[in-house]
Symmetry: C2
Subunit: 334 residues, 2 copies
Amino acid sequence: MSEEIVTLAHGGGGIASRRLLREHLLPRLDSEALRPLGDSALVDVPPGGIALTTDSYVIQPWRFPGGDIGKLAVCGTVNDLAVMGARPLYLTLGLILEEGLPLADLDAVIASVAETAREAGIEVVAGDTKVVGRGDADCLYLNTSGIGVFDYAHVRLPGPRAGDRLLVTGALGDHGLAVMAARERLPLKSELSSDCAPLSGLVEAMRGAGRVTWMRDCTRGGLASAANELAEDFHLGVHLFEDELVVHDAAAAVAELLGLDILHVANEGVILTAVAEEDAGRVLAAARRHPYGGEASLVGALTEAHPRRVVLETAVGGERIVDMLTGEQLPRIC
Amino acid sequence: MSEEIVTLAHGGGGIASRRLLREHLLPRLDSEALRPLGDSALVDVPPGGIALTTDSYVIQPWRFPGGDIGKLAVCGTVNDLAVMGARPLYLTLGLILEEGLPLADLDAVIASVAETAREAGIEVVAGDTKVVGRGDADCLYLNTSGIGVFDYAHVRLPGPRAGDRLLVTGALGDHGLAVMAARERLPLKSELSSDCAPLSGLVEAMRGAGRVTWMRDCTRGGLASAANELAEDFHLGVHLFEDELVVHDAAAAVAELLGLDILHVANEGVILTAVAEEDAGRVLAAARRHPYGGEASLVGALTEAHPRRVVLETAVGGERIVDMLTGEQLPRIC
């Protein structure tokens, strides 16, 4: 039997499209809201406003150590909602498929979407599938848009203040470097795996333990971008201690090999968090008890001393300015 | 001066990404919710639930007679919300750009997005930009996800019943055939232009005039797919009169040239509407008074006589079954 593949007809809006939906997508993405296949899903939200986010995913290779594009897309969107203080609730899924993609690969990606969504407690309620000809995309691209809601346990964050401590929830650089190593088929001495994870549970655990004032996930542009955005958006200085940053040996080795600054490398399971000083210890302890926060660390503080600047105190006692990424280090890392 | 183009750095999450946002996207997509550039937008919605939809757009060529991919993306999402009875309110915009795309082309698309969104009264509140290497996409792909809300003037549709009259809001096939003609550079004797339009105002006008029970926009798969979905989803027969369908001469000519059944061709400004029989005349009159409904026509009725079937009474008095599209007629039409 020849391998079943995605054809242009699967994107045509006719019988083949309906069959793809009924046989490959709906059984895995079990959702009451999705099943009517209307033009839009009708869903309820509690009062209090919503958080809304969108991301496209073009990662190459689409399957990598620690995950695949389906898991990545759900995690990315869940985390963008969670760091705003919202409870991730509904997800949309847009697929752009290249003609010739094996249906088994699509099935695997959709299974990842479904499994990650279940873990994060988010429901895929609307979707769309387009097919482009061979050579007009690279296997498949995903878009996920997400809605998060606010309720008694999920309120908006108050915003960072000078004096807040900064917490990073995990080791840096694993995602970007694992993807890069897989793409370049680098020989690795030790395991290097993406940190890709849905962090809504970790965020809840931290917020339950103390006053979290601001969060951002350290994706494209890495910790350096998140920290610079924090400094710029709130006219505060970010002071970091290099000694406190957690970097796995394998990641450090690949970063050195590729000549990359690990502070600029994308993560998919790491959040930069500002915490009221008096609560920092409790929030750190809560993070460390969570499966996705075992390597959390207090890495610095917010200060009025050098507004809009990110300063890293190095291991040898010097200081350096941490800039945002100026070029493109690692294309198609997410 | 060399032409400015999109580079991989524009998708990297660093300084070039921020500059693309601040110089090319934000000034055109003026939005309070977008400006903080947080991980998610925070917006309010009235109580009563929401409608949620997503679509990716891969149309080729991305600029066509009557519109471009930016206008198309906003219209498609606005219309998917409007046909559910919702008021389109918030939009997200995901861009996948091919390295080398002229920034002037991106600017033109974003200007279209902004102009169409303004007309439709929908606000772009969240966005994302990814860049893939040359040859990994075809110029640019868009994703728009939309949120519609329900309020005193926008309530959910009650659902179709046997006896309801069927109304089609415009001429058939113009979008798909205009795009196809542009792609194939067909010599045309007369003007053929996409019908691409945001139809929320037309929907309001019709609903204000009488009891509209069900709507679907006739995009991929054309009127045939929309009618078959109606028949299948509600176990009703759809009876259409060929004589009442409006088709422009230019569209008919191109369809004949390409050997296409116009009932299967995609529209982007046409809605199939079920209306309570006693209100059909008033709803038709209201549609015709609207700029996007001037060629509206009552084309048939819902019946219990042949459930789950779409039957077309032909101009010469015969009958034929109208099936859903079985293959892919017109790839990348949206």
